[in-house]
Symmetry: C2
Subunit: 341 residues, 2 copies
């Protein structure tokens, strides 16, 4: 008997995608991507995505407040739509709750979800409540729209493009490590920075829309699984290879402080930590100054060149400052939900 | 501390709905209904609904096959869109699986979902996979469309309307009882009928679309929670009361056979059993012949007059053949996910 842990998340997605019939023509982008792109009766494309938070897998009730959890479950879905240059509109919330759940938990969760969807310009329009015996499950389905000529997909990266990322990488992983080790002596400001980045990430919605408006970005994704893994998704969909330049990775002082205390390499967290919800995108070198200026001037958001697109046969490589290159094979994954404990 | 079991499903929905801000104008029907109705960039309204199946709450792996479960999780969502006269289009599937789940389970589930969505003319366009420690959770979000002038809502029932229902009621409950008592001696054909109705219900999609096309139906819902409860939803939304005539309830010979063996009243199963996924609707008396002829001629589906719409102050009453009337108070619920075991 084969079990899902043997296949892993992406193996299972591949198996499912292969078993389904060819989608009809109204499905512009279907199964296998983070967001489905759909053709309705109007000029704009519909976007639809869902993401689930499972107690004791994605969150612990002891280390996050219901409000923070509500913010996060909306934020991670908004981030997926942001990475296409789209506009979030409507959310459905499926909630499976043990009957002895405190009603305050539900109140806090909806406060957080309501606040984050309002920040994104959308609203909660429905959902479903169910009993479950053990762990809380929160599934959020977010719909949105995008003008076809502005949409940015994973596919589209071109040979010679530079690879850029907004903000900084590794903070979320640093926050997760610090939550697991509250006894570590870390400065208050660093502690606050990395824990907030982990528990209440802010999607780069305005940045995604600005990049879509500029029209020079060839491919985009958000950093959810981990930088290497997400660049592999872009490269796989675009049939190109990619290089990441370790010395260029934007790593915050807060992340470095926590990594040092942990005896870990901050750049490893930046490469594979995941859940940063920054935007990862490729564009021609000539467009980079305009991109960086626009994001800095309009949103105050820094963006950094961290690598470039190369031939497909090179795969995705991480180049260290000492010239050493590490090849991440196709099987490498930043975050596989079925492996581990 | 108040727990969700103290509030119940509908109490909790009311609390959530009350806590959220007024929806923006693109939300035609929002939280509290089975299906959200949304205004996009095109002439058609966009519909979105979700429904979850939780292991050991909604299904047991020992009594349903993965294929049947896949069929059902799609069917119950299609039924919600059918009850508005809409067209199902796209499904997102969120799956939370324990890592030791047999891959065959996932294969069978997707076969069933794929088959049922194909029957409805839609397709699976994406989703999400996650680990969970204990019970399998399947959340399906179904999107669709409807022309605004054809849409039928829960609200709209008018004084003097007759109340109709397609097919027969109580079979699903009979199937559930029989699954719990496989030792009961029941004819093969009755056993097959009621168990299939429970495990693999067929949504009345073509019937819903035909009723929408006729243009004479004032209000509609599907029978998911139970007839009394679903009529209460229609009456509450329409600010009217309703009478159900017990002697008119369409109850199959199969359901009667199982009820007799169980020592139960088949009409109680028809009134409160739920999960029949028949269409419940109201229309003026003059339109009834055309409705019944259309459903019978085009789909071979029988429909029966089972009551009428009365003044709001009467509430929803069940009238027995002996003249006795039972008042079901507003608090009565056919299926409350947080009560019971």
């Amino acid at each position: 008997m084969m079990r899902v842990r043997d296949l892993g998340e992406f193996g299972l997605i591949g198996r499912i995608a292969g078993s389904l019939p060819q989608p009809p023509p109204d499905v512009v982008v279907g199964i296998g991507d983070d967001v489905a792109v759909l053709r309705g009766s109007g000029p704009d494309y519909f976007l639809a995505t869902c993401d689930v938070q499972v107690e004791n897998v994605h969150f612990l009730r002891t280390t996050t407040t219901p409000y923070q959890l509500g913010r996060k479950v909306v934020a991670i879905n908004v981030s997926d739509i942001a990475a296409m240059g789209g506009t979030p509109l409507w959310a459905l919330v499926s909630l499976a709750l043990p009957p002895d759940t405190d009603v305050d938990f539900v109140d806090g969760l909806y406060q957080g979800m309501g606040e984050q969807i309002r920040l994104a310009g959308g609203s909660i329009v429905g959902g479903n409540l169910s009993k479950i015996h053990s762990e809380i499950v929160i599934d959020l389905c977010l719909m949105g729209s995008v003008a076809p000529e502005r949409m940015i997909l994973r596919k589209g990266a071109r040979l010679g493009d530079l690879v850029l990322v907004t903000g900084s990488l590794g903070d979320s992983r640093a926050g997760l490590e610090l939550i697991g080790h509250p006894e570590w002596s870390i400065s208050d400001s660093a502690r606050r920075t990395v824990i907030e980045k982990h528990l209440m990430p802010q999607p780069r919605l305005k940045e995604g829309q600005a990049l879509a408006r500029l029209g020079c970005v060839h491919a985009m994704a958000d950093v959810s699984d981990g930088l290497v893994s997400d660049l592999q998704h872009i490269c796989g969909a675009s049939r190109v290879g990619g290089e990441i330049w370790v010395e260029n990775l934007p790593i915050s002082a807060a992340c470095k402080e926590v990594a040092e205390r942990a005896g870990q390499d901050a750049s490893t967290w930046a490469l594979t930590g995941g859940e940063d919800y920054e935007l990862l995108f490729t564009a021609p070198e000539t467009s980079v100054p305009e991109i960086q200026r626009t994001l800095a001037d309009e949103m105050g958001t820094p963006s950094h060149v961290i690598g470039r697109i190369v031939e497909e046969m090179s795969g995705v490589q991480v180049r260290h400052a000492d010239g050493k290159t590490v090849l991440y094979a196709g099987g490498s994954r930043g975050w596989d939900h079925f492996s581990g404990s």
